[in-house]
């Protein structure tokens, strides 16, 4: 039996990496005694996989984990049991049963929505809105990106095709909230941090106190995007 769960990665656990998060789940599952399936071989490991990784320091309302059970178990029971065994900041929100040989969450993700909270001094909301418009209306948006697999060598890339939308949604004194929908996944992936770097360079703003929250991740289904539980 295959299960997909949606969970939060809150402020308390935003500094733990994707790999750390995997261990957290593996151990939480062991503590609950949920009948997870193990691979065979010399070093058996749990049949568990995660959706698109989140950068260190970024929180999320919508992370996804898939796993295989050796024996069937009620999804609500799994949720309850795991929520008692997960550290603060990680909460299972809901879950579904998947089919027999499901595509992994990782492989189907195409988009992600982020809520970016920033602090910018000396700027009017209108001009910020306008700047966002001009910024996203450019033909190309070139930015230098570090390539972790090549010794963090810098490479210039165009992020314009990966920005689906970007808009100002809220402002309070010097605090602004920007909502953006970006490509995410194995085919094309734009991290919101890189978007901000490009935006900073474009506007010359002194952007501080950046807080990024992933609101949802999506997959494409019949030409529209749906969240991973709907897929």
């Amino acid at each position: 039996m295959n299960i997909r769960l949606k969970f939060t990665k809150g402020n308390e656990v935003k500094y733990i990496s994707h790999l750390d998060l995997m261990r957290v789940f593996q151990r939480a599952i062991r503590r609950t005694g949920i009948p997870i399936a193990y691979s065979s071989g010399f070093n058996p490991h749990q049949e568990i996989s995660f959706g698109a990784p989140l950068s260190l320091g970024v929180t999320s309302d919508a992370e996804y984990v898939d796993f295989k059970l050796a024996e069937p178990m009620d999804v609500q029971e799994i949720k309850k049991s795991l929520n008692n065994s997960l550290p603060e900041g990680i909460r299972i929100l809901e879950g579904i049963k998947l089919g027999d040989s499901p595509k992994s969450a990782m492989s189907i993700v195409t988009h992600a929505r982020y809520r970016i909270t920033v602090n910018i001094e000396n700027v009017a909301p209108d001009s910020l809105s306008k700047n966002i418009e001009t910024f996203t209306a450019q033909e190309n948006i070139k930015v230098m990106k570090e390539q972790p697999k090549k010794g963090f060598e810098l490479k210039e890339i165009d992020i314009k095709p990966m920005i689906v939308s970007m808009k100002l949604t809220e402002s309070r004194e010097t605090m602004y909230i920007i909502d953006c929908l970006l490509l995410c996944g194995s085919k094309a992936n734009l991290k919101p941090e890189l978007l901000l770097t490009a935006f900073k360079a474009f506007t010359g703003y002194n952007i501080e106190g950046i807080k990024i929250n992933r609101v949802e991740v999506y997959a494409e289904k019949n030409g529209r995007i749906v969240d991973l539980l709907e897929y």
């Binding site: 656990v13 500094y15 733990i16 790999l19 151990r27 939480a28 503590r31 320091g57 550290p87 603060e88």
Partner: protein, 618 residues
């Protein structure tokens, strides 16, 4: 951006800028969080190294929960911030804080350091400075915490005599609670700092350096060490728990978020060692041998697996294969946890008692690496150190391993041992070659693929409370020559050769057998930028040498000098149970390459059974 308080500033502003912020968040599973306003005693348990190293240490896990099980005590963890974090802290005037509450530790009641290796001493100085606590005991007042230290290096406390207010020697399970009780009483009396130190000096195993005076002879050796007050004990006896039966062991342990060095359950199966290897300090200071009962071990393992979710248990001790019922324990644990895929590992195996059956049992769930420690290359050398194993033992053990499909084994050796000659160095290469040959004797279809033998050679460091405590360490140049020789001699494509930095080993030798005069050198070295000395990338030998020169202390006096057997040693006023008389006789036997038997067979008269009324050995 403005933050509500410093805690929020640390979390939101500072942590995103450092490498591995997961080291500093303090909310790991099973960590203890108490309301500081509802406790009377706040204890900062400090490990003077980075998180990943400190969190791998069993003693800290035990004592953390022991203290927190007391309702009125809140014990938090503190590790040495990695240099990037330290820079951020200093730049932003952030002081050293407890991981759990993120409160500054300078307002705590106790700041306790565990001394696991000498090369962490500069980190202690650095951490005190980061905490805003005066470095020297005499500079602290009623508003400062008491600085306490324990652990194996505390048995020669003298190099830290002016930094640490009091040392706790021996096993902490009972002693620490006793010390806390003294503190509660002292707090009621509203006494002075000095009064507390005099009170605590009467707890078994507590050493308060300022209550002892040291004078020196003209040749710089020690003339006399004596208490400055009448009712202070002449000799400080280490504290020992009589039996492990029912001894405290937490039923939960912290499960770190980030990967640490030893990320598994450590189940202590017994304490002490009876083998009597003459280079080994642990084998002397942790005596007597006390085993935990199987029923209890299984029960503890069960609770820890349930509460942690760990997938591996390591059976921890100085020499796991000496546990009298090891086979039974392994069988019970394996059969119990096979289905839930909990693996078992044995960190240290003696090559004379290695059993094929056992290793097959252990690897039923998961296969882990195998390490053997012949320690020396020739039989003569192994007899000098009383290792008590021979070549046949090693061939049988690696042979058994190769026949079960292992093709990766590690062999540990030491160079620079007393009486060592070039033949002994060559012997390391020869013995490793024989292990290679043994692999190819296994039929092709039975053996694993791609043999790799890792041979490690560390530089011998003479330690206090061992039969070699009087011996000089080999000069650095000699150690380098020996390493070069071995490196050349051991070259084969199936062998990976590792060695240790002799400069670090030299400094370790200086501090291991150091006295009070090193304390100023230590502080000077820290001023010159020394910290994280155990990390090759941070170790600054030149800065250390400069510190010795500026303070006017000769480091060779400590590392390279052969002590007279009658000399008063800096740690002679510490009583670990094993007598100086026994160590002397072992030393003399070693020079004749004479063996001493395992004292499980018959008592060899080391003196440990006289440490406590009634005796503690079987």
């Amino acid at each position: 951006m403005k933050y509500e308080n410093i805690k929020e500033f640390i979390y939101e502003d500072l942590l995103p800028r450092v490498e591995k912020p997961g080291r500093y968040i303090g909310t790991e599973w099973n960590s203890i969080h108490k309301d500081p306003s509802k406790v009377d005693i706040r204890f900062a348990f400090c490990f003077p190294d980075v998180y990943e190293v400190g969190m791998s240490h069993l003693g800290m896990k035990i004592l953390y929960h022991l203290l927190n099980d007391q309702q009125d005590i809140f014990c938090e963890r503190v590790f040495a911030p990695w240099p990037d974090m330290e820079d951020e802290m200093r730049k932003n005037s952030v002081k050293l804080f407890g991981l759990e509450s993120r409160d500054y530790i300078d307002s705590f009641d106790f700041v306790g350091f565990t001394l696991q290796y000498e090369m962490s001493y500069t980190n202690i100085v650095n951490m005190l400075d980061l905490a805003g606590i005066p470095l020297r005991s005499g500079e602290r007042n009623e508003n400062h915490p008491f600085v306490v230290a324990g652990g194996p290096c505390a048995y020669n406390p003298e190099p830290l005599y002016d930094i640490v207010d009091f040392f706790m020697l021996g096993e902490g399970e009972e002693q620490l609670l006793e010390a806390m009780e003294v503190y509660r009483k002292w707090k009621e009396t509203k006494g002075t700092r000095e009064e507390f130190l005099q009170m605590i000096a009467h707890v078994r195993g507590v050493y308060v350096p300022r209550l002892y005076s040291v004078s020196y002879n003209e040749d710089a050796t020690i003339k006399v060490v004596k208490p400055v007050m009448e009712d202070i004990p002449q000799k400080v006896k280490k504290s020992v728990i009589k039996s492990l039966k029912g001894a405290y062991f937490p039923d939960k342990i912290i499960v770190p978020f980030i990967d640490i060095v030893h990320d598994r359950i450590m189940l202590e199966i017994f304490r002490g060692c009876t083998r009597g290897c003459r280079f080994c300090q642990a084998g002397m200071i942790y005596r007597p041998v006390r085993e935990r009962e199987i029923e209890e071990l299984v029960e503890i393992a069960d609770k820890l697996i349930q509460s942690s979710g760990y997938e591996e248990i390591s059976l921890s001790s100085l020499s796991a294969s000496d546990f009298s019922k090891l086979n039974e324990l392994v069988e019970r644990l394996v059969s119990k946890y096979k289905s839930s895929k909990v693996g078992l590992s044995l960190p240290s195996l003696r090559i004379d008692s290695f059993s094929l059956k056992l290793i097959q049992e252990v690897q039923k769930v998961r296969k882990s690496g195998l390490t053997f420690a012949p320690e020396a290359g020739t039989q003569r050398m192994r007899d000098v150190i009383n290792k008590g194993v021979d070549e046949e033992d090693l061939m049988n053990s690696v042979g058994a391993a190769f026949e079960t499909g292992y093709s990766n084994v590690k062999l540990y050796f030491m160079i620079g041992l007393p009486t060592e000659t070039v033949e002994d160095i060559q012997g390391i290469a020869d013995l490793t070659f024989k292990a290679v040959d043994r692999f190819y004797k296994v039929p092709k279809e039975k053996r694993g693929k791609g043999l790799n033998i890792t041979a490690s050679a560390s530089c011998f460091v003479p330690k206090p409370f061992t039969p070699f405590q009087w011996e000089p360490q080999d000069p650095i140049d000699t150690l380098i020559e020996k390493q070069k020789y071995l490196h050349k001699a051991i070259k084969r494509k199936q062998i990976t050769f590792n060695w240790h930095e002799p400069y670090v080993s030299y400094m370790e030798a200086v501090f291991a057998r150091g006295d009070r005069r090193l304390c100023d050198v230590l502080i000077k070295a820290w001023e010159l930028g020394c910290k994280f000395d155990g990390w090759d990338e941070y170790f600054k030998f030149d800065a250390w040498m400069k510190a010795f020169k500026e303070i006017g202390v000769d480091s060779d006096f400590y590392a390279k000098r052969r002590r007279d057997l009658e000399e008063i040693l800096p740690w002679d006023h510490i009583d670990v149970g094993v007598t100086k008389k026994y160590l002397k006789s072992e030393y003399e036997k070693s020079l004749k390459a004479e063996l001493t038997r395992d004292c499980r067979i018959a008592c060899t008269g080391c003196g440990i059974n006289l440490l406590q009324e009634g005796g503690v050995c079987k």
